[in-house]
Amino acid sequence: MSDVYIIGAGETKFGELWERSLRELAVEAGLKAIENAGIFSRDIQVLYGSNSLAGIINGQENIGALISDFSGIAENHIPAIRVEASTASGGAAVRQASLAIKSGEYDVVMVGGVEKMTDVYGSEIIDLTSSVLDREWEAFFGATPASLAAITARKYMADFGVDKEALAMMSVNDHLNASKNPDAQFKNKISVEQAMGATPVAEPLNLMDCSPVSDGAAAILLASEKYVKKNKIDGIRIASSADAQDYLAVHSRKSLYALDSARIAGKSALEKAHVKLDDISFAELHDSYSIYGLIELEELGFAEKGHAKDLVFDDIKLGGRIPVNPSGGLKAKGNPFGATGVGQFVEAYRQLKNKCGERQVKGAKYALLHSMAGTGSMSVVHIVGGE
């Protein structure tokens, strides 16, 4: 089977982009990726669109057609398919695109992720994003994504004797890194005190534990080994990809803080890539809520259960033992659902090309990218890099 290479990447700024529409964002990211790859749109053989909530937020389905049409490739008549896996849509779309290349059917594939979340009023977005939960048996009773993460956090902190300060450090790290990322939603550094003292959202989590409402788009171009060699392109290899599912609702899982999907997908991705955790130069984690960042560090194997607290004060910083979220992560780069996972690949591509300036992970060789659906119902893990 062919290896798969990233040959170009582009993204919009993430943030509250009131003046930009869903389609504008998607097109901007796509064109940037094409420009970056130095190919032509006619070279693209299939488009995978990643999007989570456009149906209920923007009243727009048929996202594949929307993106291909307004990217100006309707007359190329290439297939354009949307992949929806809630907040893991991005990772899932890249995996589907990789498999399409590995199958031998295609040589050049575009993956474009987009979400336009600010087109609703006030708290309406809380109801809409709660659609990633079990609507009938969680959200119906008033559970929200933040409150379920909070339920997990309270139990985790009690069982393992972890202080709130450890959670705050995830957000402090995200903000510090995002301050060096021009595409990030938030450029402000925050102190531990600020992170601990913010307005409560769902106790024990506050505003600084929660990823924001974001607009944004990200796109990458993937190509087969054959195409990369023939055209002498210096691509970045996708070493492996894996995904795993779990129960939809938190109350059905084996414990309130088990993220089995992350554990299983992570282990599988490392095995497929023949890479050890020690070889990973940095990780982009799906820290939609600070608590998930800690638990993911454990489920992916970077720390023992209950011991992510030993990593978050120093080791996860740029220059630390295992830098986490050099992009700024979901908390500070932003979390436009369908674009989030694809955006991790944009960061990985730039890092492994040594083009990240102030936030560059020195000597970066392998990246671990983790994209997760909702409260953990699915995880997609990719290992990017290597020969």
């Binding site: 006030g122 708290s123 309406e124 809380i126 109801d127 709660s130 609507r135 009938e136 048996w137 969680e138 959200a139 119906f140 009773f141 008033g142 559970a143 929200t144 933040a146 409150s147 379920l148 909070a150 339920i151 997990t152 309270r154 139990k155 009690a158 307005t199 409560p200 959202v201 769902a202 106790e203 024990p204 989590l205 129960y247 609702a249 938190v250 109350h251 059905s252 309130l256």
Partner: protein, 133 residues
């Protein structure tokens, strides 16, 4: 969110806390499932209705401040995951309690309440909530 038929369809389970039991392994599920995730094929056609006692223990909880529109009038409220004595865990609100008294490990029992209302003249939805025992 949704049509009247949806609430009518789920009402027996929400009003009476009715789940089901796998005839093969005897595990109890809530909400009810058509297939037991442990027994798979062996469970098909053997899932029997089972009404839960409604008694259980608070596994964990959150005091929710940022709430969806249908819950604005209840803000802030306590959402919890309750481990029922019969086996399964459920997500539900804890009401009629001083938030200071709600703790992990405390006993609760289910009550029948109004859950949410969609706007001024929207559907009023009923179901279970929990109170400290």
């Amino acid at each position: 969110m949704g049509e009247v038929s949806r609430f009518w369809r789920e009402s027996v389970h929400r009003y009476r806390l009715m789940g089901n039991q796998c005839g093969n392994c005897k595990r109890i599920f809530f909400p009810p499932r058509d297939v037991c995730p442990i027994c798979h094929r062996e469970s098909i056609g053997k899932m029997k209705d089972y009404t839960l006692s409604g008694n259980g223990t608070i596994e964990s909880f959150s005091v929710v401040h940022d709430v969806p529109p249908a819950f604005t009038r209840q803000r802030p409220y306590i959402i919890a995951i309750i481990r029922l004595d019969d086996g399964p865990s459920v997500t539900g609100q804890i009401v009629d309690s001083d938030p200071g008294e709600v703790e992990m490990g405390k006993r609760v029992t289910s009550v029948f309440r109004r859950v949410a209302q969609e706007g001024e003249s929207g559907i009023i939805e009923y179901g279970y909530k929990f109170v400290l025992a």
